[in-house]
Symmetry: D2
Subunit: 281 residues, 4 copies
Amino acid sequence: MAIRLGQNRYGKSRVRLLRATRHDGWNEIKELTLAISFEGDFETVHTKGDNSKVLPTDTIKNTVYALARKHPMKSAEDFAMNLIGHFFSKNEYVSRVRVDAVEDLWTRILVDGKPHPSAFVRAGEEKRTALLDGTRDGVAIRAGIMNLIAMKTADSAFEGFMRDAYTTLKEDRDRIMATSIRARWLYDGMAIAFDSTWEGVKSALLEAFAGHKSESLQHTLYAMGEAVLAKFGQIREIHLSLPNKHYNLLNLSPFGMENPAEVFLPTDEPHGLIEGTVQRD
Amino acid sequence: MAIRLGQNRYGKSRVRLLRATRHDGWNEIKELTLAISFEGDFETVHTKGDNSKVLPTDTIKNTVYALARKHPMKSAEDFAMNLIGHFFSKNEYVSRVRVDAVEDLWTRILVDGKPHPSAFVRAGEEKRTALLDGTRDGVAIRAGIMNLIAMKTADSAFEGFMRDAYTTLKEDRDRIMATSIRARWLYDGMAIAFDSTWEGVKSALLEAFAGHKSESLQHTLYAMGEAVLAKFGQIREIHLSLPNKHYNLLNLSPFGMENPAEVFLPTDEPHGLIEGTVQRD
Amino acid sequence: MAIRLGQNRYGKSRVRLLRATRHDGWNEIKELTLAISFEGDFETVHTKGDNSKVLPTDTIKNTVYALARKHPMKSAEDFAMNLIGHFFSKNEYVSRVRVDAVEDLWTRILVDGKPHPSAFVRAGEEKRTALLDGTRDGVAIRAGIMNLIAMKTADSAFEGFMRDAYTTLKEDRDRIMATSIRARWLYDGMAIAFDSTWEGVKSALLEAFAGHKSESLQHTLYAMGEAVLAKFGQIREIHLSLPNKHYNLLNLSPFGMENPAEVFLPTDEPHGLIEGTVQRD
Amino acid sequence: MAIRLGQNRYGKSRVRLLRATRHDGWNEIKELTLAISFEGDFETVHTKGDNSKVLPTDTIKNTVYALARKHPMKSAEDFAMNLIGHFFSKNEYVSRVRVDAVEDLWTRILVDGKPHPSAFVRAGEEKRTALLDGTRDGVAIRAGIMNLIAMKTADSAFEGFMRDAYTTLKEDRDRIMATSIRARWLYDGMAIAFDSTWEGVKSALLEAFAGHKSESLQHTLYAMGEAVLAKFGQIREIHLSLPNKHYNLLNLSPFGMENPAEVFLPTDEPHGLIEGTVQRD
């Protein structure tokens, strides 16, 4: 039985970049970390050590910097489109180019209540993401958010679940629900207002999380996905990955105390993990 | 030459806690992670295995939860004061109690532009800290902030420095300056408005960072410390630890391009580290 | 256009476990961290908030502990098989159960050169992994290793690659090659000597890495995969993910020094990433 | 009340370095990450923006690479001594130079049971450390180890401790004890066989941990420190920092099962933390 190469890819990860734009003292910045990978006809690279079809990953990195200089950087999505176009035009052996971008978010420092023209502070713990998957036939664009940490102290229940011999969990009409939202959504086409849509989806996710009468984290996941699809017609589907970051009510009865939903133990180990896609039919 | 026990301490770290307060549907939350340590007369614990003077670290943890239930939690500083008072009153062998608190910051989710009564989102990547160092003679209270990430794209120079045989750095009148601010300040006494002062110091640090005509990160460190001491009479001294998170201008000349302060390489390895205390005479 | 639930799963992650086995003073330990997920008929959980088909993730966790007590724990693979069998027998709505195990490795402390019967030290930075993917039709068993960090200072070249306008990399017949090996391999069937095979694969990977005359990391990836398949007939395919952890030769000419492959700058940002599957035809 | 600069220092952190040494096909490697800091007469740097006394941190980094080329690298301690000597000879304003080194440990890959001449694998999760604190009067040399993870499943008790209203911990004659050893020891003078002493201290720490009849982690800390001082006359004192990484016996009685010290829950949050110095009188 012969041995052969199966699916494979190569590229450069953790390519970091800050792009500053300067207009008469009013500066703008965008900070990205990119992972770029190629698939294609690379069999003999592996089997024969023939590098003639391999663009070095060092060149992939250099291309990021050269193209960042050539083009204004409106959004990670736009920039990734430029990269994919460039790589396909120059590398006939490449059949798929993926660009995975993570953006560190900055906001202006307020001085006397006014946004400073050239000083910035990290906007939040969450990151904006973009994942573009390009073939010779087209590019699928997925935007996303990760590490958006949210909690609600009301309107969250978990009751009526299955029980077996190992079930000790109590029914709860009023628990804390907390998660770190990770979402990725697929756009229909490319003519998207990437920045305003991203802001809109972020708000829709948080508003749905806040307002939902939750029977489970699954139930809330669906409500969040539905809210996004209902509001943004150009989104085809959204995938949500929601860890259930447990805040367990502490039992203070050994100290002769009641605990009327006041003192909780936050814990990350173990955690539930709920994942699902909400999509148009 | 005999062998003996020198300085020693013990305690519990990573004690996590969420305190919720509920007023007719309007909820408040505070999330802390505590490290508590005791010093005292513990020599025979080490040398003889005699545990009769050792309050278990498990009890230290339980005490956190019991006292969180007993007292409203106005601030980490107030809560730590309660803990220290409790431990000294019950443990005659203890001569020093330290409480080191790190607070995860939450803000309300906005729904239709209005703060939600019971749903929250992480406020930022920065953490609020409090370090209380108590002896039988009194308690020193230090508040702080960490992981407050800031950048400026103008008004930062580094020139006129010493040069030796290994110096290759170029003088720069217009570089990017970025750091992750870690500050701790010592209060004069205990009658402090902890929350509003913390907010004020955070703003003062960011405003000084933004507005300073910087000749070096050391120069800006001093300006930041001075701004805080000038504004807050109840602060005796402030210690700042500022990594110089380099954003290096990329050399694009191999690609036939100029780079007029537009495309930068962010890097954390290596980084400068500038640390200093600014204090009243 | 209607909105509906797509692919989804739920479960418990970061379930940690130490299983000790005691034989007349000779103790054995196994430490695992598990992630378990279910797929199945869970649509109304999401869309209606109907929990009647949901086994709580808390119960999934409890089941791990109960079954760890019931069965001797020979290997992560055996234990995961027991878990999958249990969950399918009790939960008719579940169509797929995945168990992802990461094992922290321990070895005995040597005292006077002899293995201690009940004291252990962490064996290495690498982790042993097992991923079992069970449906009603059968279970696919993948074993693996991650974080196995290796370096070679000879027999590594990278030459003859493609060049374009952004290529500045020099050809190199004698570079350092370093990586953090992440491998997963698929077994043919279930009658496998899991422990000895894992040890054998680990050795085969390292020996192939060490002995290969490398023309690229892709070339070495293939040689490593081929070595494993050649030696272990019960392995159908192996997937390797190899970051190229660059050790860049430092240019010391500004200080009037040559650098004959002696002083290198290790860096993780950016890094190449080479991934591929080697399989039987 | 005037404002002034208090204690301050500056330097470069995360300076990474691999030094390879080649002897006719037999290669040796040493990988270090350094943090170097200067104290001295730097007041006007802060208060006036006068950089004339500041050697750039970029030059500090370059110096590491130049000196790594100039000198054979026998140990981190020797290399740090060279750095300190160099910096004092060239920088009259510097009164203190600290070098903090962390070494990633490598061992040779075995091929057919024999150590390979030029291929290496990470030796363990632990790191070797060296901290040299130099003034114009001399250098204090501290060696150390961190992240050395150890566990014992016998000979560990915790009984007879203090109890108060919040104590719920049960006495235990037979618990699991686990920790991540962090140790730093101070040498008497500089004429030390750094490599063999480090190996000896590591063994002595592990052997003492393994063999001790422990009444508490404090008790074992002292035994470990005493064992090192008894064996190595050139060590003046040793500081140990030992987190108590709890492995809690799981209560399986809700499932109708006993748990005779077989199934444990490992947890890092919260953890005890025991710290102490053992020294010669």
